[in-house]
Amino acid sequence: MDYIPKKMSVNTLTPEWETETRQDALPILRTNALENEAIYIMREVASQFEKPVLLFSGGKDSITLVRLAQKAFYPAKIPFPLMHIDTGHNFPETMAFRDKLVEELGVELIVRKVQDSIDQGKVVEETGKYASRNSLQTTTLLDAIEEFKFDACIGGARRDEEKARAKERIFSVRDDFGQWDEKNQRPELFDMLNGNIEIGQNVRVFPISNWTELDVWSYIQKERIEIPSIYFAHPRNIFVRDGLIWSAADAVVFRAEDEPVEERMVRFRTVGDMSCTAAVLSYADTIDKVVAEIRASKISERGARIDDKRSEAAMEKRKQQGYF
């Protein structure tokens, strides 16, 4: 049976149907290996570091992280703040969702804006057809890490997303400049995580490293986690360029005059910077339909991210510079 995502709340606790009751006894615990691993990692972060933060974009992966953090520390509150590096190119739906979630959880939200980094002259806005603020985020992120002296930043990156990320550690050490030294990474044995760092260094932590896109969607489905509406099929004015579908409704997405606009049913598979996130044609308007669609999909999730198509090593280069 499909259910309507809009009525859900992040505070929906364990669904009743998930707990099977034995006679005169407590329910039987059914968990999955990926969830247990992620909860374990969240707890290691809280214990091994002094000032962790959870990087929250409003996308499905960071929403999943929030749910896992909630589970790791219940009945206590999540013991670290959330931080949003705001490109200013957000889907409005995502922002409304973010603010509501933070209020429900009662956690602190820190917002740092890429626009401020541009205004301060630290970064220069890209121009042209493929202009995006995606890579500009790095400077704003590194400045925020320094400002708050964060020693661990929890992120929702997954190894299945992209081949440079497949080489990433769960605790990934970055130097003073936020750089990733891919050839000199610490080995990670069993589930032992080495969080020892020097002053100035910080660690990027990836609790859902081993999840695939389908794992995330299945988890959202099973846990009845609320996600922004742009993930579900909706009518939208779009135009097509390079075989990808772009939102025509938003000023930040560059559109040439000879690129015609049409209304189609679409949804987004990732919600990054609006200027580099393409939509897919879809009629999947419920979580059950989305999961079924992902299962049958022949295109990878990042296939709709123009930032990765810049070169074969695009992600590796961004990561070396401090992108997460």
């Binding site: 615990l29 707890r43 069993f190």
Partner: protein, 415 residues
């Protein structure tokens, strides 16, 4: 869904990446855009076949040199199971990566080139999987097409590996042999007509039949405390929960437990997972436990069943695999990270070192270098509560951290 983690080991050019690429391709796990990218790169490099290694070698240096440098994680799934492959490079100098990949895996695939047979590299792969006690080892004899799909060639390699296996220190390890051609897809996911003499499972069928049990499965239950949960809210005013992951066996409400190192005893009152309470915390679950008595417990402590105490010692003997460029010298101080504890320690003596072909032990010349495996004696500044690795994987393994650089310098298996 079940998740099975597999480590793959092979030598340079024995077709490991091709085998993985073939598994991805045949299980339809390579999406159109990724396949397109592989086609494009293969053409650019002037290859006349699809080079699947381009799907797995994620770093620029790897693609340039055509080798795998670091452990890569590759994901694919069947309707039955999710698979995670830890693809580790096979060069002599990358023992460290092989050990790393094997440490999180329930099964291992050792690739052997049918033309070359069992070589020095195979010794190394066998030894590492044996040392780490990987339950299922699959010997995939690849490039069968280049030996005319000869049964005799396959049987000869099988005999050689069986001879090697006589040295096994892990009798329960299950070793299976499968003849394949990764390039042609013979016996990878699909059965083949080319080898009518082989009646066994294909590689994928074999993987599908393996039970995806926890890596730490078996042994007595160990519950290391990661963090103490004290909400300090009105609703949970006096709540004091001990959060951690359950290793080995399981814990039940009412179980008599002993807290280490204080040896205080209590009983399990409640087992929480998120907002629900349960009767039993199964192995592998990340739970939150409350006790009947109000006792002082902190991170680093461990709950065990009262009649199943581990050893408590200040001196241990262990097999270590050295992973740092800086050599180990006796008398040097390192931090032992064991369970949720970090304890300052001193490597007292290096007793022996494994020969480079892994055929036996030789006397140590006073040092242990990168990628070497040796027996050491370690003195700790305070006792740890441990088991032998062969009895309890979780509680018998540790890592050594360099106190100056913070690097993970070695992994150890307690004897």
């Amino acid at each position: 869904m079940e998740v099975l983690k597999i480590a793959t080991a092979g030598s340079v050019d024995d077709g490991k990446s091709t085998l993985i690429g073939r598994l991805l391709y045949d299980t339809k796990s390579l999406t159109d855009d990724k396949l397109e990218a592989i086609k494009k790169s293969s053409e650019q490099r002037g290859y006349d076949y699809l080079d699947f290694s381009l799907a797995t070698d994620g770093l620029v240096a790897e693609r340039e040199q055509g080798i795998t440098i670091d452990v890569a994680h590759i994901y694919f799934s069947t309707p039955n199971k999710s698979y995670i492959i830890a693809d580790t490079p096979g060069h002599v100098e990358y023992t460290r990566n092989m050990v790393t990949g094997a440490s999180t895996s329930q099964a291992a695939i050792i690739l052997i080139d049918a033309r070359k047979g069992v070589i020095e590299q195979t010794y190394r792969h066998f030894f590492i999987n044996n040392l780490l006690r990987i339950k299922n080892v699959i010997v995939a004899v690849n490039k069968m097409d280049l030996v005319d799909y000869s049964e005799a060639a396959f049987e000869a390699i099988k005999r050689d590996f069986e001879a090697l296996n006589l040295k096994s220190t892990y009798a329960e390890q299950r070793v299976s042999y499968i003849p394949v051609s990764a390039l042609n897809g013979d016996n990878v996911a699909a059965k083949t007509d080319a080898m009518p003499w082989y009646n066994g499972d294909t590689l994928l069928e074999h993987l599908e039949h393996l039970e995806a049990a926890d890596v730490y499965e078996g042994g007595q239950v160990r519950f290391p405390i990661q963090t103490v949960i004290r909400p300090k809210t009105e609703e949970y005013h006096d709540f004091r929960g001990y959060a951690g992951k359950v290793y080995g066996g399981s814990l039940q409400v009412g179980d008599s437990v002993t807290v280490l190192p204080s040896l205080t005893q209590s009983r399990i009152k409640e087992i929480y997972f998120f907002d629900q309470t349960y009767q039993e915390a199964v192995a592998g679950s990340s739970v939150n436990i409350t006790l009947e008595d109000d006792i002082n417990i902190a991170r680093g402590d461990m709950l065990v069943k009262t009649d199943e105490l581990p050893k408590i010692e200040k001196e241990i003997r262990a097999t270590v695999c050295w992973m740092d460029n800086k050599q180990l010298q006796p008398g040097t101080k390192y931090i032992v990270q064991h369970s949720t504890n970090k304890v300052l320690s001193k490597i007292d003596t290096i007793e022996s070192v494994m020969t480079t072909d892994f055929s036996g032990q030789i006397e140590a010349n006073g040092k242990l270098a990168l990628n070497e495996i040796g027996e050491v004696r370690i003195k700790l500044s305070k006792p740890i509560y441990y088991d032998a690795y062969k009895d309890n994987k979780y509680n018998g393994a540790f890592i050594l951290l360099d106190a100056h650089t913070n690097a993970t310098a070695a992994v150890g298996f307690i004897n």
